[in-house]
Every structure is written in structure tokens, then in C-alpha cells.
């Protein structure tokens, strides 16, 4: 049984555009993704494709003007607002993107201690710092005093000490030098090997491939493909969705082929396939209704013509 199961999740923002005119922004539509124990799932997609919103929806920390539909299940049980509140930081932990997510006026050691759920806070914090090769002076530092690599490890520490079974890391790698990047990736992989379920949100397909078991490709707020990591190889001939193939082909080492056009804005989504306006294989049917996510060759795809 998957430990985390997101099914047909939609997130809509109500906005008052001008005066009393209400405008709905559908930032996530019919998104489905599952996370198994011991597995690292990478979520990739362009900016604005809803990756962070998915993380925030799982943790129940969306802004007040957001409305959600669909279901999120943890260990087979639907997450209600109340249940999420009790799981946050205990069973499900977030590794945020940057040092800006730490309280600027609180020493980092103390911040890690507040995340401890089992055992003596100070002890647990020292243990995890030692594991991540953070010197003991670091616990007395304020966030602004940390180098990029140290900040990364402190943020990881907060998730580690929580003892959570599901770790959601939102873009934990940008701005890291190659060595720190390598270390951060290995840390996440290690969590997976220890039995946690890790969701790695990233722009960086290369890094994702190094540690992920599965890759979920997001486009305009929905999952277009879920594929085993090994399918990202060669010319992308094993990939299922035209967007995944295009994304793969756009990487420097694969020809640097740009994808023409742009992702539709979440306030004006087309009725049919969300990728249709940029898809070479698009036919009349593609414009009529959004294709369903279907099983294909040990993965999933949201495309009527995929083989």
C-alpha cells in the first residue's frame, strides 16, 4: 500500500480581480501521484507547474483563499484538516528550499530542537549535527551566519530529527556547489534506503535521475507522466508523454532542443489536453477533453496517443 496517495487533486485560488469580479485560478487540476515506502520520487516540471503547491497541499499549509478538491491519503486514510495538523512535522516533514525558511532571530540549534519529536531535543540535535558533519559551534549560529552548504544540512536536520516517514524536499539543491549538491542528494537517497518515502521536487532532471526511483512530470498543474527513472535515457524513446520527451530533449546533453510556445496560464486553461497548443502530435480529439491518466508500460501517462 502506498504511504501517500494523491488522487485527482485540484487547487483553485479565488481572486477578486477588479472590484467585485471574481476570478478563479486553477493552479492544480486532477493531479495524481503516489509515494511508496523506501522510494525516492522526483517531481519535475517547469516553473509554475504546481510543484510547491502540491507540497503545501499535502502539509495543509495552503493560503486561506485556496480551495482544494480530490483526496490525499496517508497510509490509506484520507487526510482531513485535523489529521494533517497532527501529522505535520511528526509523520510528514518538509525540507524547505532556502535558509530564508529559518527564523532569522533564533539560533539554528534551537530551531532544530523544536523539530524533535522523540527523545531529548538537545541530544537529538547534537547527534544529527554530528552525522551531517556540522561542528558544535554551528548550533549557536544564526541563519545569516551559515554558508550555503551548512544551511542545507541544517534544513535537512530539521526533517531528520522529526523522525517523519514522509520527507518532502522542495527544491533543496539550487545554489549548491557540486560537492554540497552530491552530499545533499546522497542524504536524501539514504533516507529512502532507511525506509522513508522521499518526494524530491526539483527543476534539475539530471540530479533527480541520480537518486530517484520514479519521476513524475508536471505540466500546468497536472501530472502528465509518471515513469521509472530508467526510462529517461537515450533519445527519450521509452518516455510516454510528448512533453516528457520534449523536456528530455531540451537538456544540454540531449541536443538542447527548445520547446516552442509556453505553458498555459492557470487562469485560462484550455478545455482539452493542456499540452495541445505545443504538441506536434495533437489531433482534433486532443482539444476536446482532458485525457485521463492511464497505465502504460509500467508507468502512467495523460495522453490519448501515447504508446
Amino acid at each position: 500500500m502506498p504511504i501517500l496517495e494523491v488522487e485527482n487533486l485540484s487547487v483553485t485560488f479565488r481572486q477578486y480581480a477588479s472590484g467585485l469580479k471574481e476570478r478563479n485560478i486553477r493552479a492544480i487540476s486532477n493531479l495524481s501521484v503516489t509515494l511508496e515506502q523506501g522510494e525516492v520520487l522526483a517531481v519535475v516540471g517547469a516553473s509554475g507547474s504546481g510543484k510547491s503547491l502540491l507540497a503545501h497541499a499535502i502539509l495543509g499549509i495552503l493560503p486561506a483563499n485556496a480551495e482544494t478538491a480530490g483526496s490525499i491519503k496517508y497510509c490509506g486514510e484520507t487526510l482531513t484538516a485535523k489529521r494533517t495538523q497532527s501529522l505535520r512535522g511528526r509523520e510528514i516533514a518538509l525540507v524547505p528550499q532556502s535558509v530564508g525558511y529559518l527564523d532569522p532571530l533564533m539560533r539554528v540549534g534551537n530551531q532544530v530542537r523544536t523539530a524533535v519529536r522523540n527523545g531529548k531535543p538537545a541530544e537529538e540535535q547534537r547527534k544529527v549535527f554530528k552525522r551531517y558533519k556540522l561542528k558544535s559551534v554551528v548550533e549557536k549560529l544564526f541563519p545569516f551566519e551559515l554558508s550555503g552548504g551548512m544551511a542545507r544540512r541544517v534544513l535537512l536536520s530539521t526533517a531528520m530529527v522529526s523522525g517523519a516517514k514522509v520527507i518532502i524536499a522542495d527544491e533543496p539543491t539550487p545554489g549548491l556547489d557540486p560537492e554540497a549538491l552530491n552530499e545533499a542528494l546522497l542524504n536524501l537517497r539514504e533516507l529512502g534506503d532507511q525506509g522513508c518515502a522521499v518526494m524530491l521536487i526539483t527543476h534539475d532532471i539530471d540530479s533527480a535521475l541520480r537518486i530517484a526511483d520514479k519521476i513524475a512530470v508536471f505540466y500546468a498543474g497536472t501530472t502528465v507522466e509518471i515513469a521509472p527513472a530508467k526510462d529517461f535515457t537515450g533519445d527519450g524513446e521509452h518516455l510516454r508523454h510528448p512533453y516528457s520527451k520534449a523536456l528530455w530533449g531540451a537538456l544540454p546533453q540531449n541536443g538542447f532542443t527548445p520547446i516552442p510556445g509556453s505553458q498555459p496560464h492557470s487562469a485560462a486553461l484550455p478545455p482539452g489536453c493542456l499540452f495541445a497548443s505545443r504538441c506536434e502530435k495533437a489531433t482534433k480529439e486532443c482539444h476536446q477533453a482532458q485525457p485521463d491518466l492511464r497505465e502504460l508500460r509500467n508507468g502512467k501517462v495523460r495522453c490519448i496517443h501515447a504508446t
Binding site: P96, P104, T114
Partner: protein, 333 residues
């Protein structure tokens, strides 16, 4: 240590600025007073004017050097000022320093009470409003603050006197102590009773600024990434506020309170007038109305110094308390 050196330079620089500021203020106010239609001799003699002949006037003028050129008068005054002598008040017939000391001892009680009250109440209002943004409670607090921000202190004072002193009779109408009682017989309770209305008046007007400022700051903090992350770790409600909100909002609020010394002083002048409270404010008004030049100048300098000190503390708080300026170290690991 680099930091102590920086702090030393900061303080030295500030002292130089304070000195030039005071020198400038003293020249301007001296010129203003000298060119105003106040007749210092008449102010000195008061109602006995008719009994004083021109000869005696001449003698007084000579005694005070009133016939010297203005520049010379200023130099005389300024040099004795540097020697610590502020001159003698004409209406109180006491050294100006003594008068200021005695009046300030009353005012400081009033101002300090109002300062603490308005700080604590305003801060709480701001936090409550921000944590309940866009609810009825937030709207009420905001409305209250905007209304207050446009209410003059003396008007609020009059209202308080009318309601609580005249109609309800809970507190005395004015003065610092009961009238017609020997000063030895004045009890602590008496003093407190006379303090309540002016202090409340002064703080009611003072909360608006700090409340609105704190509200905005708190809203920013609540929308920050570190609060989002704290919530993702399961923190909420009071714990969330206590751990992350308070820490980040208190510093700017306290600093703002110190920077508001000028409003506090200005408010005290009006409030003391309404309540006939025998403090610095009242002395300032009297010195102005009755042409007590030395006292007026002394008060101007004193209030400038007072406001300056507030601003200095406001800056120092950031300098000394905020770790981002306090501990300038970075570690590589």
C-alpha cells in the same frame, strides 16, 4: 574587538551630532526669543510694573546685560551654559536647572506610565489585529487607531475630564496633588489618583502609532517563509507566536517606542495643560506666555536632548540586540 571599536565610533559620531544639534537649536531659539515681542523686564516684575520707575528698569536691564548686542548676550549665555549654568528662571526665581529637575520629576512619572501603557497596549492590539486579520476584531482595532491618530491630545484630555472627573467624579479634575494640603500630608494614593487621567489620556493617543505599526509588521512576519516552515513542522497558535512572532516583532516595536519620544513630549505638554499637571509641559507653556527667557531656552535644550536620547536608544537597540548586526561572523565548514 572590531565590534567594540565600531560601537565606539558610532557613539562618538552621535555625540558630535548631538552637540552640533544643540548648538544650532540654542542659536535659533535664542534669536527667536530675542526678536519676539516679549519684554523680559516686565515678565520679571509681573504685576508690580506700575511701582517700578524707569531708573530701576535701567538697572535691571544693566544687571542682565539686556542692552548688550544680541551676539554678545548669546555668547555670555552660552559660555555660562558650557560651565553648567543655565541661568535663573524669572518667574520661579530659582536656577533653571533646579526648576527643570523639579518639573521633570513630575513629568517623567506621567510620561513613563503613559509610555509603558501605550507600548504594551498598542503592541498587544497590533498583534491581536494581525493574527485575526480581516475579521471584525481587526476592523475594530484599525478603526479605533485611525480615529485616534486624528484626535488631538488636548481634546481627548477634555473628554476624559468631563466624563471621569466631572460627571462620574472618580478622579480629581486636575493638579498633581490635592489643593490646600501640606506637601508632607500628600499620600502616594493621592499622587496616583492625580496621575491616572493624564496618563491614560496620553497613552490612549499613543497606542495608535505602535498598534498600526506592529499590526503591519506582524502581518509581514505571518506571511514569511519561516512562519510557513514553522507551521509545516506542526507549530501553531500561541506557540507559533511565542517562538517566532514575538521575537521578530518586538524589536522594531520597542525601537519605535523610543523613537516616539518627541510625540510623547509633545503630548505631555498639551495633556499637562489640560489637567494643570505641574510638569515640564506646563512650565514650558508658562515660560512662553510670561516671557521667562532663560527657562524657555533651558526647556528647549532639555527637550531636544530628551528626544535625541530616545532616538539614540532606538538605534542602539538594533545595534546591540539584533544578532544580524551584533555578531558579524561567518563560518565555513
Amino acid at each position: 574587538m572590531a565590534r567594540a571599536k565600531n560601537l565606539g565610533r558610532f557613539l562618538l559620531w552621535r555625540s558630535i551630532r548631538a552637540f552640533t544639534l544643540l548648538a544650532g537649536i540654542s542659536i535659533i531659539s535664542f534669536l527667536l526669543v530675542k526678536n519676539s515681542p516679549i519684554d523680559p523686564i516686565q515678565a520679571y516684575i509681573g504685576a508690580d510694573m506700575l511701582n517700578v520707575g524707569p531708573e530701576q528698569r535701567e538697572k535691571i536691564a544693566q544687571h542682565w546685560g539686556l542692552d548688550d548686542p544680541v551676539f554678545k548676550q548669546y555668547v555670555n549665555w552660552a559660555s555660562s551654559l558650557l560651565g553648567g549654568d543655565l541661568g535663573t528662571s524669572m518667574i520661579y526665581r530659582e536656577p533653571v536647572a533646579e526648576v527643570i529637575k523639579e518639573k521633570f520629576s513630575h513629568s517623567i512619572v506621567l510620561m513613563l506610565t503613559a509610555w509603558v501603557l501605550s507600548g504594551v497596549i498598542g503592541f498587544t492590539m497590533g498583534v491581536v489585529a494581525a493574527m485575526n486579520k480581516d475579521t471584525a476584531i481587526d476592523r475594530i482595532i484599525k478603526w479605533y487607531c485611525y480615529t485616534l491618530a486624528s484626535t488631538p491630545a488636548f481634546w481627548m484630555g477634555l473628554l476624559m475630564v468631563m466624563v471621569f472627573a466631572v460627571w462620574l467624579g472618580w478622579f480629581p479634575v486636575g493638579l498633581g496633588v490635592p489643593a490646600g494640603i501640606l506637601s508632607d500630608d500628600v499620600t502616594f494614593i493621592d499622587k496616583v489618583k492625580h496621575l491616572v487621567l493624564p496618563a491614560i489620556t496620553l497613552s490612549i493617543v499613543g497606542v495608535a502609532n505602535i498598534a498600526l505599526h506592529t499590526r503591519q509588521k506582524m502581518i509581514d512576519v505571518l506571511a514569511s517563509d519561516y512562519i510557513l516552515f514553522a507551521r509545516a513542522r506542526g507549530e501553531r497558535g500561541f506557540i507559533l507566536f511565542w517562538r517566532h512572532g514575538l521575537r521578530n516583532v518586538a524589536l522594531p516595536a520597542i525601537s519605535l517606542q523610543f523613537a516616539a519620544f518627541s510625540e510623547l513630549f509633545g503630548g505631555a505638554v498639551l495633556t499637562e495643560q489640560v489637567f494643570s499637571y505641574p510638569g515640564l509641559g506646563q512650565a514650558t507653556v508658562e515660560a512662553g506666555l510670561r516671557g521667562d527667557v532663560p527657562l524657555l531656552l533651558g526647556l528647549v535644550l532639555f527637550s531636544a536632548l530628551f528626544v535625541f536620547t530616545g532616538n539614540l536608544i532606538a538605534d542602539l537597540i538594533y545595534y546591540v540586540v539584533d544578532p544580524r548586526t551584533r555578531e558579524g561572523r561567518t563560518y565555513e565548514s
